[in-house]
């Protein structure tokens, strides 16, 4: 599977266990090679049961990526393992969705902690940002650029055999259903602006069998850990996968449904019998967890960090898209008194070139000229740090509102 270079290897339906009978195993074995975007993507592009369903930034388009979509894989033809280095088959990378870790990959591993290479003032300021802002914040300003992803999945609506799915198109994407009788109701997103949160590398997780606080409006199955006051935390972009899932009303644990029928005689599989109770009973039994027989639908969020699909440097967010204060008349020259040869205003007012997203999203123009990419107040600032000071620097630069 991992070292197949022919692309013909596949597993029998349910995509697990034995290889499909039709595969020419001899041919596959004779052509083994390094893992590739294709072999890794076989699993990792399909998180959630299909292409780009859950991952915000991994999808089948990365087999032949547009350089604008992913500069590493598209422009420089990187394979996964060139960043996710392996040691004795342990593959580096810390996923936000799955807890197991066998090494961490950071942009700085290649780009260093001072990744902006020039020695201009701008480079200096950008490098200073690196201790507070994750690289992806600026360099992956939108996620799911090239393949639409699900951003809402309501399991509770599943089973309505009469409901006809409405087909949606996002930009020039193919038509996407908003409903599937087996799976429930969806919302799709494309070139979505991420949610930003402080993140120090650790994730809070609900593990199977954990009881949750049922009084909460939203159950956060995974959520980033980090505070503004935490020096190791940086503002990091996330896709929040939202949806409705079932919890055991008495044990307050997440319920696992049995979905895929084992065989033609299966009476409990939801996708055959459409009976949640039987499905939960069977699923929880398989997981060796208690099931009380009563369930309750709750909204759940899982945070998926946006880390792939880095855009070319020319498409990174520019200063003014977060720092609305720079959009005013006085810009960098608030501090830099002598103008020298730099046109500060032009520099500050420059906005990102999102023309690449034209056919991917309807409101590209609006996105391009937004100056509120990061909601500083939500992240614990009083407002734009240029005005109110950074998290460890009490240096209000310029016109601090009096009073």
């Amino acid at each position: 599977m991992c070292h197949d270079t022919t692309g013909t290897y596949k597993k029998a339906p349910t995509k697990a266990g034995w290889p499909d009978k039709g595969v020419d195993l001899k041919d596959v074995a004779e052509k083994v090679g390094h893992s590739s975007r294709r072999s890794c993507g076989r699993c990792h592009f399909n998180g959630g049961g299909g292409d780009a369903i859950k991952h915000a930034d991994l999808a089948g388009n990365l087999l032949k990526p547009d350089p604008n979509c992913d500069i590493h894989m598209g422009g420089l033809d990187f394979s996964c393992t060139q960043c996710h280095t392996t040691m004795r088959h342990r593959i580096a990378g810390s996923s936000s969705s799955v807890a197991a870790v066998e090494g961490v990959v950071r942009c700085a591993d290649c780009h260093s902690d001072r990744p902006h290479l020039g020695n201009s003032l701008l480079d200096h300021h950008l490098n200073m940002h690196c201790s507070t802002i994750d690289c992806n914040t600026c360099h992956s300003p939108v996620y799911a650029k090239c393949s639409p992803t699900k951003i809402w999945w309501d399991w509770s609506k599943a089973g309505d055999k009469n409901r006809k799915p409405k087909m949606i198109k996002l930009g020039n994407s193919k038509a996407l259903p908003d409903y599937h009788v087996k799976k429930g109701e969806f919302k799709w997103g494309r070139a979505v602006k991420p949610d930003y949160a402080w993140f120090n590398g650790k994730t809070k997780r609900i593990i199977l069998g954990d009881s949750v606080d049922m009084r909460a409006d939203v159950i956060q199955l995974t959520s980033p850990v980090g505070l503004r006051a935490d020096p190791s935390a940086r503002i990091t972009p996330f896709k929040i996968m939202k949806g409705m899932q079932a919890f055991d009303a008495r044990h307050h644990t997440l319920l696992i449904p049995h979905l895929f029928p084992r065989d033609s005689k299966d009476t409990t599989a939801y996708w055959k019998n459409y009976d949640w109770d039987k499905s939960f009973a069977d699923g929880m039994q398989a997981a060796k967890l208690p099931y009380s027989g009563e369930w309750q639908w709750k909204e759940t969020w899982t945070y998926w960090r946006v880390e792939h699909e880095v855009m070319p440097a020319s498409m990174a967010l520019s200063c003014v898209q977060c720092h609305s204060s720079l959009g005013e008349e006085k810009t960098c020259n608030r501090c830099h008194q002598d103008n020298r040869h730099i046109n500060f205003k032009e520099l500050a007012h420059k906005t990102t070139d999102f023309t690449f997203l034209k056919d991917k999203r309807d409101d590209v123009e609006q996105l391009q000229h937004s100056s509120d990419y990061i909601d500083f107040k939500a992240l614990g600032y009083k407002g734009d740090p240029i005005i109110y000071g950074g998290r460890f620097k009490k240096l209000p630069l310029g016109a601090l509102p009096q009073g």
Binding site: L25, A29, G74, Q82, R88, A99, A100, K202, T203, D210
Partner: protein, 251 residues
């Protein structure tokens, strides 16, 4: 002869460079990637420049001073990305996939061209642009050259420049595989399987040579669907989490 060959190659390169923008403009954006930086780098890697006969030997400090005096700086590094895949090395052996070399990154972090470009050719006529910083392969070509016994071959020049510095700076890749993948040997001859083998036969055949790898694999998170979860809040001491245990809905 060599020089002629070089000129010929240079002409081809120029043609390619001129055609490049028009090509990418002519086609839609989906195929513009066909000749993006990687392809350029690939073409550049194939060039073989004429060998420099004589070099100017001076101490590292004097060299550094002179480089500064020429006002040559990092900004002059036009090419930021190289693929190290020279036919010079391949002529002797071809065991490894090309190495990505971020020239810009290295130039910026060292801040001093003379760290790597430690000598310059005495005769600079054929390098009218930047005689001070000719590429590695201008001096370092064939290993054990009978006429230049003290001169390292290209491969050794790379390694002797890269490895000690990475170790000293404790930065960048520190292992062999950090820089280059090895080429997978042709398995057609190695694999001995009957027609239509059953999966267990295939596994046994793989294990014939790769038993250690198989053992390694059995301990990985990708096999066990569990593993150390060091970055999970309050569970960093638990070592048995993974897709098999998390509450994500995976069907």
């Amino acid at each position: 002869m060599k020089r002629q060959l070089f000129r010929f190659r240079a002409v081809i390169m120029l043609v390619v460079l001129f055609l490049l923008p028009s090509l990418s403009m002519a086609q839609n954006s989906d195929t513009s990637r066909t000749l993006f930086s990687q392809d350029l780098a690939r073409l550049r890697a194939q060039e073989v420049v004429p060998m420099v006969d004589k070099v100017k030997v001076e101490g590292p400090i004097r060299r550094s001073q002179r480089l500064h005096a020429t006002e040559l700086s990092i900004k002059d590094a036009k090419t930021t990305y190289f693929l190290l895949d020279s036919p010079i090395i391949k002529a002797q052996e071809d065991h490894y996939a090309p190495v990505r070399f971020n020239h810009g990154q290295h130039a910026a972090s060292s801040g001093d061209c003379s760290v790597c470009h430690h000598l310059r050719p005495v005769d600079n006529s054929s390098y009218s642009n930047h005689p001070e910083t000719v590429r590695c392969s201008a001096c370092h070509q064939q290993s054990f050259h009978p006429d230049y016994p003290e001169r390292l071959g290209l491969k050794a020049a790379y390694h002797q420049n890269c490895i000690p510095c990475h170790k000293k700076q404790n930065a960048g890749p520190l292992t062999c595989r950090g820089c280059h993948l090895n080429n997978v040997p042709e398995h057609k001859q190695l694999v001995k399987l009957p027609e239509k083998p059953d999966p267990l036969q295939v596994t046994a055949e793989c294990l014939r040579c790769h038993e250690d790898d198989a053992n390694d694999l059995l301990h990985t998170a990708h096999w066990r669907w569990r593993g150390a979860s060091l970055y999970t809040q309050d569970q960093s001491r638990q070592v048995d989490h993974g897709k098999g245990t998390t509450a994500l809905n995976n069907d």
